[in-house]
């Protein structure tokens, strides 16, 4: 039986017990963590994570994402709130009895053990017979493409290889949840992309519920089923990547992910008015009186004339150009606003600093975020 089969068995067993896939599997309820009793590192987080889901915790450092992960793993005690795994409260369960696999940023491989001994460690702790340990550890190493490296010590392996061993070690015992704490932070760009693909492949094959902590937005965007955006100890938004990008619910989420332009939009006489532009012909998403109007730079294009109905058309002074090869970022001002527009290179070849051009975006491409 391979690691893969075992997981499939585990999955079908939970099915036969009547657990529905769409139900929350890992529930985090009103989680609070304070180290000194005064300041809170985590200020009341609630998340429902489904079985088999790949969830990223995304946020700047100090936003509480790693602290939350540490509480799920059992290395930190929550000050209040609860963590339920498959309906069972695990907050009081010590880390070594949780059956949750974890991969650390600095790998945390045991330096005095070979790769095979490292991977066999969790099985040995579970009193698995020696022959089975050897077989399953070898299998797990094979799964991450390191079958030939079992006899090496961590110091004799590259960073990428060590990370693979750490991954195999975190998966070999069939954990209920896999936690990854910025696992690719120490690797160079090419290796990082390779490992992203590898982690996604393994997630697909094993169908294991995974939480991935990162401060790299593109990593979160490409890998996750859903992203929880952390800021200052709270989750600002928890949604699929495209929702996070297109329909952020707070200004922080809109500005942290991707490039953005924000305009002040206010409600006046049942209509919406954008600062520097004027009346908008779009409906307000809520009863709020003030909104942040988010326009992504790539939603802005050159205006070639025609019917202006449904468009915001502005005269734009180019103050700077940044060439990315495939696209050009225009930095400048229009109607007293600082704006950034991203154009395909082929459309921008004739533009220079100091030019004044006509730009436009569709009013529907402006996303409104109520001001809290």
């Amino acid at each position: 039986m391979t690691v893969f089969d075992r997981h499939m068995n585990a999955l079908s067993q939970t099915h036969s017990q009547g657990v529905v896939m769409t139900q929350a599997y890992l529930e985090i309820r009103d989680l609070v963590k304070s180290y000194d009793g005064k300041q809170q590192a985590v200020r009341g987080i609630s998340l429902d994570i489904r079985k088999g889901e790949f969830v990223s915790f995304l946020g700047p450092s100090g936003s509480g994402k790693t602290t939350t992960l540490m509480m799920v793993a059992g290395f930190e005690m929550p000050t209040s709130g609860s963590i339920l795994l498959g309906g069972r409260e695990i907050a009081p369960v010590p880390a070594h009895k949780r059956n949750i696999g974890m991969v650390f940023q600095n790998y945390a491989l045991f330096p005095h053990m070979t790769a095979l001994e490292n991977v066999g460690f969790p099985l040995r702790m579970r009193k698995t017979p020696a022959a089975e340990i050897a077989r399953r550890a070898a299998e797990a190493l094979d799964m991450v493409g390191l079958a030939a490296f079992g006899g090496r010590h961590p110091r004799e392996m590259s960073g990428g290889q060590q990370q693979r061993v750490a991954l195999a070690r975190a998966l070999v015992f069939g954990p209920d949840v896999l936690l990854l704490d910025e696992p690719l932070g120490a690797l160079d760009k090419n290796l990082r992309e390779q490992m992203q693909v590898e982690i996604k492949r393994i997630h697909r094959e094993l169908g294991i519920t995974t939480i991935y902590v990162t401060h790299d937005q593109s990593e979160a965007m490409t890998m996750s089923d859903r992203i929880a955006v952390f800021s200052q100890g709270v989750v600002e938004q928890f949604a699929p990547p495209l929702d996070i990008y297109q329909r952020p619910t707070t200004r922080f989420v809109g500005s942290f992910i991707g490039d953005s332009n924000f305009l002040d939009v206010t409600r006046q006489n049942d209509g919406l008015v954008a600062q520097g532009i004027g009346a908008l012909n779009i409906a307000a998403p809520s009863q709020a009186g003030k909104f942040h109007g988010l326009v992504r730079p790539e939603a802005i294009g050159l205006w070639t004339g025609g019917d202006e109905q449904g468009h915001c058309v502005l005269s734009f002074l180019i103050e700077g150009l940044v060439h990315y090869g495939d696209s050009v970022l225009l930095i400048g001002s229009a109607a007293g606003l600082n704006l950034r527009a991203r154009l395909p290179s082929v459309q921008a070849s004739h533009l220079h600093e100091g030019d004044t051009i006509r730009i436009a975006w569709r009013e529907n491409d402006m996303h409104l975020i109520p001001v809290q």
Binding site: A73, G74, F75, P94, A95, H96, K97, R98, N99, I100, G101, M102, F104, N106, A108, L109, F110, P111, H112, F121, P122, M125, R126, G151, R152, H153, E156, R169, A170, F173
Partner: protein, 262 residues
């Protein structure tokens, strides 16, 4: 460049100077201290290894050194964990207390032990010497073990617990093996410190628990026996071996892993 080299040689000569005198003298045929020796033989080595008055202190010293090492480790390992990993009131005061035996002059310590241990009736006994030596060994041993503990990656322990090891198993399977080199060096220094120590030993070891340095001191003062150069040479050889053994061990381990990787 040439001046630096000359200076380095001068310093080396200065440090090694006593050895260059003592080692040849131990093979000397002269029946008192005489340099350069008139001739060479192994006679004094023979009489050293056949003389109970010398062998007893040797075994005393080894026994006291081992006991000191054990007791020091029992005190220093838990103390280091507490000092490095916990934050508590009076932590820096305790740190100072741990270093105190290194700061206070040995002769002052020795005088203190002499009067205090007399009252406790453990003067002139191995127990007294072991207790005093333990106290003196604590600072250096603590410095070494605390340093290796500071360099220890706590994530290793987290990983072990995450993988299903109880706190006790985590200590025996991960923390202890990873820190073992630091513990070994710390223990070695505690042993050497006790084995070398003369001042306290002279004050409190007496005849019954006489250590080797004390016996050497007595021997110089009373009889000026050339055997003392034999003892010095042997002492130096033992300490050199003890200090070099971790280096040699590391070289062997490295060679072995390179062999395996190839």
């Amino acid at each position: 460049m040439r001046i630096t080299l000359a200076l380095a040689l001068l310093v080396a000569l200065f440090v090694l100077g006593p050895l260059l005198v003592v080692v040849p003298m131990s093979f000397s045929t002269a029946n008192s201290f005489e340099f350069p020796p008139p001739g060479y033989w192994l006679g004094y080595y023979r009489s050293f290894f056949g003389d109970e008055r010398w062998l007893t202190p040797v075994f005393n010293s080894i026994g006291i050194g081992l006991a000191t090492m054990l007791l020091t480790m029992l005190l220093v390992i838990p103390a280091s964990f507490a000092m490095v990993r916990q934050r508590f009131m009076g932590r820096s005061a305790i740190n100072l207390l741990l270093m105190m035996p290194m700061i206070v002059p040995n002769i002052v310590m020795a005088l203190g032990y002499y009067t205090y241990f007399s009252q406790l009736k453990i003067i002139h006994s191995p127990l007294g010497v072991v207790l005093a030596h333990t106290c003196l060994s604590v600072p250096v041993c603590y410095l070494i073990i605390a340093a290796s503990l500071k360099g220890f990656d706590r994530n290793l322990e987290r990983a072990a617990m995450n993988l299903g090891a109880s706190p006790l198993r985590t200590f025996w399977e991960v923390t202890f093996p990873v820190l073992r080199p630091g513990f070994l060096v710390g223990g070695l220094f505690a042993f050497i410190h006790s084995f070398d120590e003369a001042v306290v030993a002279i004050f409190i070891s007496g005849q019954a628990a006489s250590t080797l340095p004390r016996k050497m001191f007595d021997s110089i003062r009373i009889e000026a026996d050339p055997i003392i150069s034999v003892v010095s040479t042997l002492l130096f050889a033992v300490v050199l071996l003890a200090v070099l053994s971790p280096l040699a061990w590391r070289a062997i381990v490295k060679a072995r892993s390179q062999f395996r990787a190839a």
